[in-house]
Amino acid sequence: MKRLLCLVVGLLLLVPSLLSLTALRKAAPPPERLGVKPSFEATYFTSLEYRYLLSELLFYDAVFYYGSMLERPKERPDYWMIAKYIDSATRLNAYNIDAYYFGQAVLTWDAGMAKDMNVILERGAQRRTWDFYLPFFLGFNYAYFLQDYQKAAHYMELSAKLNPRMTFLPNYVGRLYYEANKTEQAIQYLKVIYEGTFNQAVRKGLLMRISALESIQFLEGAVQKFEKQTGHPPAELNELVRAGILKKLPPDPYGGTFYYDRSDGRIKTTSKMALQGAEQ
């Protein structure tokens, strides 16, 4: 009887406290859950023989955090902390393709950290000498974000050599030398990334970006048609609808509105193709 009583008391203490604790921890903001990462040196020296496992765990922490932030589009993810996690994960295990992949998918686009990501990618490319993805990422970053077409072509050539099955790459390299259409480059690149990843949260984010870029490409075509017809660029995108070139403007999957920037003649969106608060 006493034992049963003790068990009941224990359960009465445990169950409500566990439920309350779970709710409290769930309510904590995601950056708090990501936590403060100790320095790389501390992580490296204390990892014993589990540095590869630790590398995976750091990557998982960062990807779960990013996944939770996708559910809160009004909050800006802590990209600097994500970058630190990716940096440590790839220094603990220079072969960890997941970390490179995730960093490339998130840090370059959303956080504008293409230069920092290239440092990480170059480190990885030295180890994963068989992998065409890392030179491909490097090439893309140099072309699209940093406008260094010489380096971009070098890495794309390397990537094409490592994976001859990617038949579009040689053409792509050629186009890079001539500074070809950037929107098309971006769509082709993102489709490769999309096909190569299994993570649903990241796939969702990529699909959203591909869809936004395809809309931009579509609008660019319509603007060119308008220019041919009228001999001058449109003042705003609604002119394309009024001229009968478009039935209506496509929606921005990020929730923003597309507009025509006359200063550089490019189609842009008020969402900047990022979760709200993120910098381009």
Binding site: E49, Y50, Y52, L53, Y95, R128
Partner: protein, 268 residues
């Protein structure tokens, strides 16, 4: 053949009576079931992530086996005074110590064999469903398992060395854990202080101390071939040969020192 080593056989059977293998099978099954779960969070390399997890788990379980089973082997005989009855047998103290070690080694071989086989099946299954970019080299798995076993045998020899002095299992357990931690860190620290950045930040006296520690303690990082298995990297046969010889050498030295200390020990 084992009949020629009755104490080793008794140690092995004692471990079996502890339902060690049954426990291991349960752990292996848990490991097998959680492997795909760990892998599913990966973006590209499901097999790599699952293999990283499972190899790390196998290594951790191996260390736990050495510490939990090995630490009690000799102190238990001393505490329960079984050592007195053994002393009446025509068996030298050195032979007693070596047979205890042999018994523990047999237990580790069997345990790691079971764990390794089930783990291999799990990796094979995941690799079949999610073929990695680079096909796995199954020979590397044997290399990993063999050298993980050698690492455990080195650690066991350190444990036996400490047990030769101790009266309870606590001290050998703690000291072996310390050697395990130092053994896996010493190479990293040595390599760090040999870089330009390390030389700048570390005092000369500390640099000397690190060098001494590196040569004194076993360099357990050398036995770690996980990355070669996970990413199908080539293995240098020369590295394998020297690692194997280094391990054997360390075991021989530790057991010799343990035997020397144990022979001089006064049990009265």
């Amino acid at each position: 053949m084992l009949e020629r080593f009755p104490l080793a056989l008794a140690t092995f059977k004692g471990g079996m009576r502890d339902r060690l293998l049954l426990g291991l099978c349960v752990i292996s099954l848990i490991l097998l079931c959680t492997m795909p779960l760990f892998g599913t969070f990966s973006m590209r390399d499901v097999t790599g992530a699952a293999t990283t997890y499972s190899l790390s788990a196998v290594s951790a379980i191996g260390v736990l086996l050495v510490i939990l089973i090995g630490a009690a082997l000799i102190p238990r005989d001393i505490q329960s005074r079984t050592i007195y009855s053994i002393a009446t047998l025509p068996v030298s103290r050195t032979r007693y110590l070596l047979e205890k070690y042999l018994g523990l080694a047999l237990l580790l071989v069997c345990s790691l064999g079971v764990l390794g086989f089930l783990n291999l099946a799990g990796i094979w299954f995941i690799a079949a469903g999610h073929p990695p970019d680079k096909p796995l080299l199954w020979g590397n798995y044997l290399v990993y398992l063999f050298f993980d076993l050698e690492k455990l045998l080195v650690l066991s020899s350190v444990l036996v060395f400490f047990s030769a002095f101790a009266t309870s299992s606590f001290l050998p357990m703690v000291l072996t854990l310390a050697v395990y931690a130092v053994g896996l860190t010493t190479e990293k620290v040595k390599l760090f202080i040999e870089t330009a950045a390390g030389a700048k930040h570390v005092a000369p006296a500390l640099r000397e101390a690190v060098q001494v520690i590196y040569y004194l303690f076993p360099n357990l990082s050398a036995f770690d071939f996980k990355v070669q298995m996970i990413y199908a990297l080539p293995v240098d046969p020369k590295v394998l040969l020297f690692t194997f010889l280094y391990g054997i050498g360390y075991i021989v030295i530790m057991l010799s020192l343990a035997a020397a200390a144990f022979s001089r020990r006064d049990f009265v």
